[in-house]
Subunit: 445 residues, 3 copies
Amino acid sequence: MSSGKGAPTITNSGDLEAGQRMFELCKELWPLNRSLTGPGNRETLQILAREFPEIEIFEVPSGVEAFDWNVPQEWSVNEAWIKGPAGEVIADFSVNNLHLVGYSSPVHARLSLEELQSFLHTLPAQPDAIPYVTSYYNQTWGFCISENQRQGLAPGTYEVLIDSKLFSGAMSYGEIFLPGENKSEVLLSTYICHPSMANNELSGIAVSLQLARDLKEMKQRENSYRVLFLPETIGAIYYLSQNLANLQENVIAGYVVTCVGDERGFSYVPSRKGDSYADKVAHYVLDGLKSEVTFYEWKDRQSDERQYSAPLVDLPVGSIMRSKYGSYPEYHTSLDTLGDVVTPAGLAGARNIYLEALRIIEANFKPLATTFCEPQLGKRGLYPNIGKKGVYEDIRVLRDLLSWSDGSISLLEIAQKSGHDFWALHESATLLLNEGLVQNNSVRT
Amino acid sequence: MSSGKGAPTITNSGDLEAGQRMFELCKELWPLNRSLTGPGNRETLQILAREFPEIEIFEVPSGVEAFDWNVPQEWSVNEAWIKGPAGEVIADFSVNNLHLVGYSSPVHARLSLEELQSFLHTLPAQPDAIPYVTSYYNQTWGFCISENQRQGLAPGTYEVLIDSKLFSGAMSYGEIFLPGENKSEVLLSTYICHPSMANNELSGIAVSLQLARDLKEMKQRENSYRVLFLPETIGAIYYLSQNLANLQENVIAGYVVTCVGDERGFSYVPSRKGDSYADKVAHYVLDGLKSEVTFYEWKDRQSDERQYSAPLVDLPVGSIMRSKYGSYPEYHTSLDTLGDVVTPAGLAGARNIYLEALRIIEANFKPLATTFCEPQLGKRGLYPNIGKKGVYEDIRVLRDLLSWSDGSISLLEIAQKSGHDFWALHESATLLLNEGLVQNNSVRT
Amino acid sequence: MSSGKGAPTITNSGDLEAGQRMFELCKELWPLNRSLTGPGNRETLQILAREFPEIEIFEVPSGVEAFDWNVPQEWSVNEAWIKGPAGEVIADFSVNNLHLVGYSSPVHARLSLEELQSFLHTLPAQPDAIPYVTSYYNQTWGFCISENQRQGLAPGTYEVLIDSKLFSGAMSYGEIFLPGENKSEVLLSTYICHPSMANNELSGIAVSLQLARDLKEMKQRENSYRVLFLPETIGAIYYLSQNLANLQENVIAGYVVTCVGDERGFSYVPSRKGDSYADKVAHYVLDGLKSEVTFYEWKDRQSDERQYSAPLVDLPVGSIMRSKYGSYPEYHTSLDTLGDVVTPAGLAGARNIYLEALRIIEANFKPLATTFCEPQLGKRGLYPNIGKKGVYEDIRVLRDLLSWSDGSISLLEIAQKSGHDFWALHESATLLLNEGLVQNNSVRT
């Protein structure tokens, strides 16, 4: 895992253990009814706090302004079901929370099948799947079932109960801040607003928490790290509305961590301009993979990089994923499950890739030579004593590094210019730092 | 015609009418003996004034300085012919004004066929064509006939008469100025110095006048427009010598309108540096054509973009053409005729392409978002109420536009970055302007 | 030779004579035992002084600091040999100075064959060749013989004598400075530290001296020229330590002249950033060759461009070579000989290429038009009097040059933009300078 060239396969028992631990966390979080707000979100954050006590949990009252938006009402659901003509249960929120359209208002009614139809949502192209549907900003109600189930519904009278509340409560989110030697900051953001779906929700939470663990265990951190667990869109917008100046000043790179649990290939959605530091690091790490990687464009964005990279905000935030939201068939349906889609190995591989990116960000700097011309390596034991044909090649990495140490480009850029591996250059850079032959001017991008 | 993606074919009766009207104007202007100066130029401008009374006509006295040049003497021709040994007419200026070398000095003489030969110009490679020849800055005389006719000339004595005058008169040119809301200005320039040739002269005059009509009929103009009818080279140089500071301050784009009457493919000669706003608009419009387009380079320039884009002048002026001067066989010969080369449909298509370019220049601006992060589209009825798989795609243009509205790039550049059609973006931009979600900072290029 | 498009073949007796003269100089310098320091270097410089009296010779005492380095001790060798068990001579420095490892310390000993082996250097892959080996910064001793010879050595007692001295003396180098009209300066640097090797040592000295001759014979020099003859690495570093500010202020281009004597293809190692003026000129000249050229990258550097283009130094210095050091089989062995590798024709061709580069640097400037718009060429006799089809092409070079004369780009860049030959443009530029239509603002790169 110390080389950017290797595939992020699971290579030791530590990785396997971490994969299994992330998978267990997903299982525990699976049944909770997460949405923009509500008790499911709070329970999710409480479980994270048990695992990582340093997390700070915030409650933002409904109605609070956040740029062009307001924090929505809190939504809670006690019970929700449809019963058929014979009293049989057609769909029950307590069995699968996807059955209920998100933010459904309360209702108790008897309807004919014809009347019921307009409140039912199905996916004709995926007749076995229950779709995931929400109606956050328009009060209505509805149920989601499989197309197969809809086709089998008999004529008659149906009873519908939704015992839900929409009220002036609060929106919950969590934040982990790990201070480093410098104010320069790396942002990780994941969302906690989808009910029982595995890749497009739980994988992001589990990998983000694991990365927080990994960062906490580092003996020293050059950069500070901020890991956010918040509802998509409104959560990110609220957070930005409170912290924009600080983030614009300090964030050197960031990633939206989502869809990181399956075992399919990796993918990347860049920041808006496509050339931010986050983009450069992601490209370097993903280019080093032996497997195929899909590089998307800004036009393919669909998660919170929309807010972090918006005009006037413009943070250097991209998103490293496995199968991108919208690109895999199980997305936003009841088929996006633990086991079938998300696996311990899938989670572990994504954690490894992210960790490699973070390690590069930690280790990268712009070396500046302290001597004019080449230094005399021989007197420091860094040069072969006997000059013969070919001897020059043995210290090629060290010499190429020195030759690019003008303080204007980083090890990462030198890796790209010279073709040498980042970590080989870093090893030489550490040697040269120790010898006083280059300086680290703390320009870290 | 409202979409940059469609070919500029004649699509309605208005276009056909305009094509026919332009063609009739060409027919009326055909017989006049235009040159750098002289009565043919004045008659041409008088006809334009009858059609478009707002045109202002200028007379610049011979000898006036214009940068490195002087306005030439005025040239007028009363009569010019060659008669053969048997008194038969060999070439008569009153039949075709191409027979006389432009700016020929007066002569009345009898010469042997051998003596006459050195005053005759033909095109051996196009034996049926009478070539177009001038001698503006070296006093001489000559006649142009077809190579076939030259081969049939019998030995004997020939009588030559040129009843012409070169005298201290004036150079004439015309200018239409259509003020807009802003001082930013678009320049169209065409020339009025070629005698009876259709594509390489009359088409430019007719299309330029039609565009002036089209611009005049606009309810509102964001930019001001300047349409010049002047003799090539000396006319443009004189005009620049009088108006350079104003043009350098205000012109955002311009085109030399010439060779715009045939039905062959479109072509483009760029401004010197190739990346001016005129170039970008022309590329966008021409790239949208289904038919083949030839993109020339600066080295292929040959008309007044030479002056407008000269060093120290550097106006953003290119030239959208159909068949470029020099590239079609009839160029600068008697074969460049109305009907065979220039047609109503050819003129109408060129007018449409230019009109599309001008409309884009009118509509283009650099949108600047008024909110941090994405605005809440739902509360404004701009977002589908129910969130399900795929719903995001329906408002893709609007959201991509918003995501690029950082005030630094225009709708035209957003079209290129996003792959969306300019007019689709413009429709969304209008909606967002009306909602107050973007500002138009009046940065129009 | 006046056209950049032609191959630098030997085209006249002057070239052949120069080639022969360079070859004779190589022959005279061949037997001298050059190293970082010592009598062989001084004798080499004395011969150069006989040929070119303006050369200034410097002696730098051992121990003097030069950035991170110190000038090494002086090394001189009186006698050095190995005798075999039967008293037969195995290797004798007086027969071939490559037999002795450079900077060997004195020794007189009797050793068994086993003991001797660790002091012997051979090239198993090239069994006929004596390798070139040095040990500048680690006191030891050794001998170099062919692998074939090593295989034939009989067991027994060997006598080894090295009568050498390492002492506080001096390092010698030579400098030719040819002042020009301007302080802008071109640097040529070659090294004088290899014993009997032809392409990778003597060719550089001979061609550099010939170029100094050629430059001295120029009637007028726009730029000043500096030609350095110094030991590789420490020589260049010492020189830079004394002259850095002056060089950084004035050097517009420079080349390390080495490996310029064989008849194989040309090659180029660029300056660090690859876009210096030296690189642009070299590319233009080498691109014009009909034969194949190898363009190396910065990572392939291995000679004094390492110092001249180092971070904090950053002079615009590349290296035009024939077969690059390290790329040809005879490199750094006894096979790199006069006759087999280096020939008069090879030397003459390299001199021609360098001369072409220097002539372009002399002739190049950024023309600035003195008139707005195109000037009137006709009144100056620069334009064909009769305007007909095709006439424009005849003065294409002149007009394209004028159209790019905005003072921001040089003739060399105009050659690349327009596709015209540099010397054709230069001819037009001279005409325009004489007519006062362009200015030379002395911006020479």
